[in-house]
Symmetry: C2
Subunit: 261 residues, 2 copies
């Protein structure tokens, strides 16, 4: 994308780039103090880097560029976030201190992780690089990350190695998200590889939580993950449509709908 040759930049500009990439944002004033130069000089650097599309300019500083590749992902993170957050809050309350849990790929599980930041008695195994990063923000729970291919679109870790890694554990709670649910309770996903990880998590969790916001009911996806018999608790944000209720009631599974509070 950014086809500028970074390596030929002056030292100070390279360092600014480095700072911004690692910190996300730096104020002009911070850079002034850091380098001992005038604001004007910093601004010149920032403008130059900005014209090369290496950083994004703000009033008062500069930040990492809004990357085109994770933009759609960021959008997805937004849509239906209210529902996801409600679900996450509800699930977080049901995670006891000292529990061990799997968190797999998915925006809803990420929302859960956000709620769990600050808890410091948990042991978490995840194949989501964003979750691992999130939990690093504070001194808190132990985090293990699964090995495997890093998927650029969403930071998910997938592949046979990932599945094998997950199988090494047996934890209290497995939290999984999915792409869609059929009326008869068939759980679906778009990505074959992701399915394998989810199945490994299901097989090795004493209790399985499925988190799915309202949009998942009726959404078509290609790959079959399993059905309600694999799930112990289903968490959602709205009462599922009538057509889905029969299968839900027949299953030996508890349904939790987030309070509208």
């Amino acid at each position: 994308m950014s086809d500028a040759d970074v390596s030929n930049l002056p030292v100070r500009q390279k360092e600014i780039l480095e700072l911004i990439r690692s910190q996300g944002y730096v104020a002009t004033e911070q850079l002034v103090r850091h380098f001992g130069v005038t604001p004007q000089t910093i601004r010149r650097d920032i403008n130059l880097l900005c014209e090369l599309d290496l950083i994004e300019r703000f009033h008062g500083g500069a930040g990492r560029i809004g990357n085109a590749y994770n933009q759609p992902y960021q959008d997805r993170l937004q849509e239906g976030m209210d529902g996801k957050r409600k679900i996450a809050r509800m699930v977080a309350k049901r995670i006891p201190d000292g529990a061990s849990l799997f968190l797999n790929i998915g925006t809803t599980t990420e929302a859960l992780a956000a709620e769990l930041v600050g808890r410091n008695d948990l042991r978490i195994v995840t194949n989501n690089i964003n979750i691992a990063n999130m939990m690093r923000e504070t001194e808190g729970s132990d985090v293990m990350i699964a090995g495997g291919f890093v998927r650029q679109s969403d930071g998910g870790i997938v592949g046979e190695a990932t599945t094998e890694f997950l199988k090494q554990f047996r934890l209290d709670i497995g939290v999984i998200g999915i792409s869609g649910i059929d009326e008869d309770g068939t759980l679906l996903d778009f990505d074959y590889q992701e399915i394998r990880s989810a199945q490994a998590i299901i097989q090795n969790s004493r209790t399985v939580y499925l988190v799915a916001d309202a949009a998942k009911f009726g959404r078509r996806a290609m790959v079959r993950l399993g059905d309600y018999s694999n799930i112990d608790h289903l968490f959602t944000d709205q009462t599922p449509p009538q057509a889905f209720m029969q299968a839900i009631l027949d299953a030996e599974m508890e349904l939790h709908v987030a309070d509208v509070i």
Copy 2:
């Protein structure tokens, strides 16, 4: 750390928090457009969140809080960065297109990863979560991450599982960094677990690159990693002190000193 109860905040403030946590920084103006309210209201929100130590205030917006825990790490990232970058640039030139390589924990290897962003023919295996994140920024090389414990201090992934994961590969080049080098060529590190990963990388690389800036020569560290016989190429930024040269010349190892250009 931040002992404020996030869950009781108004919806807009929670969303602001979410945006900042995911984007690193948002301008006041962006938030104004996003929520359709006046700048004044956004400022009130930002000030409130700032007093709760949940975000950091800037002129023109707000950003993620400069976390106390990775601060010492950030500092370490800074000191000697010039040298590290020079080394990184030199090594990057020696990584051919299509190569497969290990990158282990360490600030110098991170600097190398930064230089490799944009290359799109590489296959990279790493146990450094920062590197995995960095490579995600652009469409580029394939990245595999090792599984294991996520170390909060620096995002390194360590533990027996990590070592086992690394052993599954056999790659063209292994790039390792270390904490210190003795005069006789003994390679040292502070962390026992990290050593095991480095040794696994050495054993499974066709060529081993050691990257070490000038500060490493003579620094004492506790755990023995190996010696020059394990290394094929040593990259550094200054000619090593006289006392070290004999061992370096005796070893079957190429020494590369970064040009002062």
